[in-house]
């Protein structure tokens, strides 16, 4: 049988929107001759594609879902290989006063108490899951009247928060790329609960015979290599003046 040269990568829009994916995949294709079809969709949808055997490998950022996915046998392994972080955005005048919060959980508590507008993605994405988790840790429920669930991607959510002069949680890379048209600023950052971890999960061939196991392995190897590390660590410096993603995987020499 002919070797399947096509790899389906199910990923999330946030990975695609920064442009990192394009850079990596171009390199991958020229090196290996494999064609990758990156399907950038919502986190939930990406995982669903994996659960149906419609993707060969996942690149997502929703740790709880990922663990469940691997536990249930849909994924072979889960490798958390890079991260960036989330930031809390809000109006520059910070009506709730979260700038001085001690932690992100504290900031969320303040938001809930001061009953300021908060815009949530509300789409079961990695970011949304993260937000829900923080609410949980903070032991608060958002103020119903002031909680706006938009059910859209990061860019739209930030945009709406900006228009409504509301608070919202966003990943840093999205914020940086949208920053030029925004009046919102970062009001809180750098908390351990704000880490945004990206993992790679090859889909289990045992469950789905049509999965391109070999291709997935090659792509996984490529993404977990020194070359990738270098690209990731340099990505975005030119455009945004800072590093967007931090590579965590210990590359073997």
């Amino acid at each position: 049988a002919q070797e399947n040269k096509i790899i389906i990568l199910a990923t999330t829009t946030s990975v695609q929107d920064t442009g990192l994916l394009d850079v990596l995949l171009e390199k991958f294709t020229t090196e290996t001759g494999y064609t990758v079809k990156p399907i950038a969709v919502g986190t939930g949808q990406a995982i669903k594609l994996g659960m149906n055997g419609e993707a060969d490998i996942l690149w997502v950022h929703s740790p709880d879902d990922e663990k469940k996915f691997v536990e249930e046998g849909y994924g072979i392994s889960r490798t958390t290989f890079m991260h960036n972080d989330f930031v809390l955005l809000g109006p520059a005048n910070d009506p709730a006063g979260v700038k001085t919060a001690k932690s992100i959980t504290n900031a969320f508590k303040i938001i809930s108490e001061k009953a300021v507008l908060f815009v949530s993605r509300g789409d079961q994405s990695g970011t949304h899951k993260k937000e829900l988790k923080i609410w949980k840790i903070a032991e608060r429920t958002p103020n119903k009247e002031k909680y706006v669930e938009v059910g859209q991607g990061m860019a739209a959510t930030v945009r709406i928060a900006d228009e409504k002069q509301a608070y919202c949680l966003a990943d840093r890379s999205s914020y940086l790329s949208l920053k030029k048209n925004l009046s919102l600023t970062i009001l809180f950052e750098n908390d351990k609960n704000l880490l945004n971890l990206y993992s790679l999960i090859p889909v289990n061939t045992q469950k789905f015979s049509k999965v391109n196991e070999k291709g997935a392995k090659i792509l996984l190897d490529f993404l977990l290599s020194a070359k990738t590390k270098e690209i990731v660590e340099n990505f975005g410096r030119e455009k945004y003046g800072q590093q967007l993603f931090f590579y965590d995987y210990e590359v073997k020499k």
Binding site: G44, A46, K48, D123, Q124, S125, G151, Q152, E163
Partner: protein
């Protein structure tokens, strides 16, 4: 395949559960699509009639532009309308962004070229001699449009049906201008996108089915009006 059967099951469940969320979505959808269709028809049909009837320079170019408007990507319309309605945009003071009003505006703009373009074609298809007969009887412009409308009801209703179809199925612009805000501006199409993104394919199909049933009822009514008393 199973998704489709699951979808049907879920759709029935959803409707009979009288889930508040679903009811909200249905309410907003009906409000937006019916108002937008009504406004687009009230503006589009008379304009189309006048463009078809009157002679003026650059008429063909204008018709081409309108026809091009049928191919305006909703996302672009959504984007441009948003730019105008942004708080700092020229019409920010209206405070229409992320409201039902803004969504209706977007839908009207999307449906207008379709309704105008097809109405122009409908009026232009009228036998010239029928038109001459009408004005020979002493009709002024608006009277002749009304008389012609009765005679070509069939094609004008087709234009309206197509306009309604584009409105009810459109997602890009309402998503952008409305914001898909739960209980406020979430409509059937944006809910479908959301559920799809969440990976809830069966749920997405269920909402799709609800949309189709709603649109089928509207269309059945329009189609019966259209096909009634056909000239044959």
């Amino acid at each position: 395949m199973d998704f489709i059967f699951d979808g049907i099951k879920k759709a029935i469940e959803l409707i009979f559960s009288l889930d508040r969320d679903i009811l909200d979505i249905l309410r907003v959808s009906l409000l937006v699509s019916i108002s937008a269709t009504a406004i687009a028809v009230l503006i589009g049909v008379p304009s189309g009639a006048i463009i078809a009837i009157k002679k003026f320079p650059l008429k063909k170019i204008l018709i081409s532009l309108i026809n091009t408007g049928m191919g305006l990507p909703p996302v672009v319309i959504g984007l441009v309308i948003s730019l105008f309605l942004f708080r700092n945009g020229p019409f920010g003071f209206l405070q229409w962004l992320y409201t039902v009003k803004g969504m209706i505006l977007a839908q009207v703009i999307i449906a207008l070229p379709i309704i105008i373009g097809l109405t122009v074609a409908a009026f232009q298809s009228v036998d010239k001699k029928m038109y001459l007969q009408i004005i020979a009887l002493g009709a002024n412009t608006s009277q002749s449009i009304i008389i012609l409308l009765k005679e070509i009801r069939l094609s004008v209703l087709a234009a309206i049906i197509a306009g309604f179809g584009s409105i009810i199925s459109e997602v890009g612009a309402v998503m952008m201008v409305g914001g898909n805000i739960k209980s406020q501006t979430r409509v059937l199409t944006t809910a479908i996108v959301l559920e799809t993104n969440k990976g809830n394919f069966d749920f997405a199909i269920a909402i799709g089915l609800i949309l189709l049933v709603m649109s089928f009822i509207v269309n059945l009514t329009l189609t019966y009006i259209q096909q009634k008393n056909r000239r044959d």
